[in-house]
Subunit: 420 residues, 2 copies
Amino acid sequence: MAYKPLDAKTAVDYLKGRAAVKDILPPNEEYIANELGDGNLNLLFIVTSRTNPEHTVVVKQALPYLRVAGDSWPLTLDRIVFETEALLLYNELVPGLVPRVYDHDYEMSLVVMENLRHHEVMRKALVRHKRFPKFAEHISTFMANTLFFTSDMYLSSIDKKQLQEKFINPHLRKLQEDFVFTNPFMDSPENNWNPLINDLAREVRSNAELKASIVRLKEAYMAHAQALIHSDLHTGSIMLNREDTRVIDPEFAFMGPIAFDVAALLENLILNYASQFVHIPNPDERRDYQEYLLDTIRETWDSFASKFSRLWIENNSGDLMPSKYWDFPGGDRAFTQFRHRYIQDLLRDMGGFGGVKMLRRMLGIVSVWDITSISDPTKRALAERFVISMGKRWILESPSINSVEDLIAIVREEGAKINA
Amino acid sequence: MAYKPLDAKTAVDYLKGRAAVKDILPPNEEYIANELGDGNLNLLFIVTSRTNPEHTVVVKQALPYLRVAGDSWPLTLDRIVFETEALLLYNELVPGLVPRVYDHDYEMSLVVMENLRHHEVMRKALVRHKRFPKFAEHISTFMANTLFFTSDMYLSSIDKKQLQEKFINPHLRKLQEDFVFTNPFMDSPENNWNPLINDLAREVRSNAELKASIVRLKEAYMAHAQALIHSDLHTGSIMLNREDTRVIDPEFAFMGPIAFDVAALLENLILNYASQFVHIPNPDERRDYQEYLLDTIRETWDSFASKFSRLWIENNSGDLMPSKYWDFPGGDRAFTQFRHRYIQDLLRDMGGFGGVKMLRRMLGIVSVWDITSISDPTKRALAERFVISMGKRWILESPSINSVEDLIAIVREEGAKINA
């Protein structure tokens, strides 16, 4: 079927013709579609039976233009392909941690998936200081499994390269390269920041040591093809409730540095931490919620690291190094040390990437609801100054850290300055 | 034209039907073809006019099986595609440093190129201790240009990824991953070494520190996509004379770590250096030739580094970091420091890769004529012990070296032990 944007009426008609959705949308019922998308990049329809609310799906269709990038058709088509292919792979690797995919149609540039109607977007929930007791457990499993099982530690060399080829994804990578690692740190017309932090913006953009570190991190983002990363794993890409967690929107997926996904997540918890200096006026309540966030950071990293390591021990089938390579007196210990060092390198990369992403949210085009929901610019500047101090320190100090506690200690030190 | 292996007669007939070779092989002359290849991987024909020896080409055709790997047809087709596409790109980037390509036919799995009839294979010439005064100048230009102009420092992000996609080259990469970084360092049936160095083979294969370093280097080879590397740039892939240098056989090309090409070259000069302890009995003559080799190593690295740096300064058009990023007070110095550090990292990677490649030539399936041309096993063991000491030290000491002199100093120290 040749590409044509759907509307609320044609979406229902379209789905009637798709055999793959007959189970979830029984043909003898009547359906209505509501368009939810922001209309900027994608159309998003919720299609639901008038008689049975469980007979419902989401249809996501790419629009043939990308306003933010000024780019054209091939990019648009690619977006849904990368998102769908990543979701299909995630459904194999971590079933239950992503929405189910019912159908896809690349000519129509659309995917039909599970309607997560009992879940909410994590970012909005955190701004309202909600807690999710199973989140760290779920997200660490998501990251350990998706990253390990697409790495050279698990895949054969040929399979890894074929997966890499499938996710070259050049146009969306270019967006992240520019808007995460580059433009926020130099004069660029789309940059947007609070004038009350002009001094910090100027300082960051002319800090030679910091900028040398950022370009090294960008080089790793561009060229270090460790595993298939989600590449946009912030709290806006997570829908959840107290019992269940789902990762959505993996259209940026490509073979990149493993630590980038963990960094995106933990960085967004830090942004939320910063916002609570304003969102929660009561000091005890605030401290309590911020401690919850730090506990979540600690538990997420520690669980990720131990799950990743356990997967490696139990599934060392990839071509990075066969177990036979470690078969010599002392080889077990050497393999263990190698794994520890590999994961320590991930921790250090994670701190660096996390720091860059904090700074870009304060200085670049892509702001973040946790902070922008603070309407008073003076109060917002308080949170922003905290984030910028954090970002700089995570970048500069990460090469010498040894545990996630070192990163958390930086949060506490900078937080103490605000509370003082 | 469907694939069919050529023979001496059909090769001539085939070329008569190809418009692209009409200038180099005028149709009114009579031609004869001689098959030169080893018949293992490729057919290689020299086709020459009976009346004018300058009317001559080389035809290289892949055979539909790869004895060494036991793999099949798709691999074979790919080989000629990767070789030809790399040669075409090299002809743009470094004209005069690779054979000209006259024609190619991927259905027939063949390429028609310049017959380098005034050149010899560098490895054989070095074994006969010949000197090539312009070699370091030429090869450093080849490496600086091919590596810089395919890197993120020069290419746009999109172009770089598209080039990466074109050269995923999984099957040939797998061969290098196995036979350079893995199998020589563990029990593997195809490994082949001089029984007189059994003690060293055992020691290398159970040296935990060394093997941890090797796996880190293998990870970089597998996953660090810095630039389009030749990936098999030893002295057997170079044809030259006193005036002219050509790089051949880039079928292993892919987006990999820049230092690997430089390492392959310098490592092969070290292997030749080692062989001269036996090949040249006269101590003065030997020292003189070995110094020539060390001068070539020094000049090649230093020229490569300075050319690469100059290209970067003059052509910083890639997406790694636009010049605007460095536009702040002190930014020039910061950019200079970043370039220096990048090139220092290349030097350190180069030492590591070079060391791994020395060891694999002593312990794995792929031996090397410089050393195997020493027929007396006892004398050969002398050279092999030197190479293994060198390889270990280059691997273990490279992370802390600061200049190519540090690598050369290791050669002198190990050489002094032999002369003592």
